[in-house]
């Protein structure tokens, strides 16, 4: 997957790659309503499905670590993907594509359009987008469920999903702590027994 993606990007000119990065992150930024997290499935659609810059597994590792670190999620993903695809210039292009259009919109429109925020049609737009984002997020969840099953089998996957759910949502253990603990367990145990965390 990764190899294939790299070969493909080698064939493209540097300008074309920067343009692809800009398009991918402009598109996923400008349609993500309701803050950063709603952009995750949109970024996946561009980065994994459309441009093949990384595999779903790599995307998963990136999302997990990005979630475990502080700060806005969308810009972390854009910056890292840009950096991986084309170094520092790729990072800057991807970040600019996510951040600048909406900031400029905000600065330009705030004075003029502040009174529109209570308009019915503006609220209607936000309401209509929520179920679509829910579906996108659910689809991505399912991709990772299938992915976990491929490596761990149904039973272990479901047990671990249940365990993570109880830890994070019932006992409110912070995801960063859970990921750090998993990391520690894997590093400390001999590799064959690393799966015995359950």
């Amino acid at each position: 997957m990764n190899q294939e993606g790299e070969n493909r990007s080698i064939q493209k000119s540097s300008l074309a790659i920067h343009r692809d990065l800009f398009v991918a992150f402009f598109r996923s930024g400008i349609v993500s309503f309701g803050g950063g997290p709603s952009g995750i499935p949109l970024i996946e659609a561009e980065v994994v499905k459309r441009y093949h810059w990384m595999s779903l597994e790599e995307f998963g590792d990136m999302v997990a670590l990005a979630n475990a670190l502080p700060g806005p999620i969308n810009t972390k993903l854009a910056g890292y993907v840009g950096w991986r695809v084309k170094g520092l210039s790729g990072l800057l292009v991807a970040l600019a594509a996510v951040v600048l259009p909406t900031v400029i919109l905000m600065v330009a429109l705030l004075g003029v359009l502040a009174r529109f925020q209570d308009q019915r049609w503006v609220r209607g737009m936000t309401q209509a987008v929520l179920p679509v984002v829910g579906v996108l997020m659910a689809q991505l969840t399912w991709s990772f469920m299938k992915n976990a099953k491929k490596g761990l089998g149904w039973i272990i996957s479901l047990i671990l999903v249940g365990l993570s759910f109880v830890l994070m949502e019932v006992l409110h253990v912070h995801p960063a702590i859970l990921i750090a603990l998993t990391l520690l367990l894997v590093l400390l145990k001999p590799s064959k027994k690393a799966g015995e965390r359950k």
Binding site: S32, L42, P72, Q117, L130, V133
Partner: protein, 176 residues
């Protein structure tokens, strides 16, 4: 001097705000309103409400706007840099480390064992979007839009960006 304050005001929420941009907003308010008195609470909440109605990540929108308001374009750039850069540099360093050892069996196990955690994190985000949707528009519009977008994306392979654009138009015309 003002730019250094601007950097600190957004660096601290950026490095302390776990759970993505929305989680860091109260911390930003604490700096901008409580500590530096650049704006009042009601000014801040107006900007937040407006920022939420626009697309894109919220933390950088707030940083860009407040930075511009207080110290012009340089302020906007410094505020956005302070929001984005620290956590991004950390992520790149961590993933670079992971990539160096990606053929070791331990890293393969890590990738595998992290997957169920991702399933739960993303699943909860999906649930939260549906829950907010249910609260704001009721179950019928929610189910209709969800079903339509599922069919369009899954069966007809329409790019999500276009489905969202369609939903925005329908929302503006018929909902609210």
């Amino acid at each position: 001097m003002i730019l250094w304050k601007m950097f600190l005001a957004f660096f601290i929420p950026g490095i302390l705000g776990y759970g993505g941009g929305p989680a860091s907003i109260p911390l930003v308010e604490n700096e901008v309103v409580g500590h530096y008195h650049w704006m009042t609470v009601s000014e801040f909440s107006n900007i937040l409400a407006f920022g939420n109605a626009l697309p894109g990540p919220i933390a950088t929108k707030m940083a860009g706007y407040i930075g511009y308001d207080v110290a012009g374009i340089a302020g906007a750039l410094v505020a956005m840099f302070a929001t984005v850069a620290p956590s991004l540099i950390l992520l790149i360093a961590l993933l670079k480390l992971l990539e160096r050892f990606k053929d070791s069996p331990k890293v393969k196990w890590l990738t595998l064992l992290i997957r169920p955690i991702i399933v739960v994190m993303l699943g909860m985000m999906a649930y939260n979007f549906f829950a907010t949707s249910f609260q704001s528009s009721g179950w019928l519009p929610m189910i209709l839009i969800a079903a339509a977008s599922l069919v369009l994306m899954q069966r007809f392979r329409i790019h999500p960006a276009f489905v969202i654009a369609g939903a925005l138009i329908i929302g503006a015309a018929f909902m609210g």
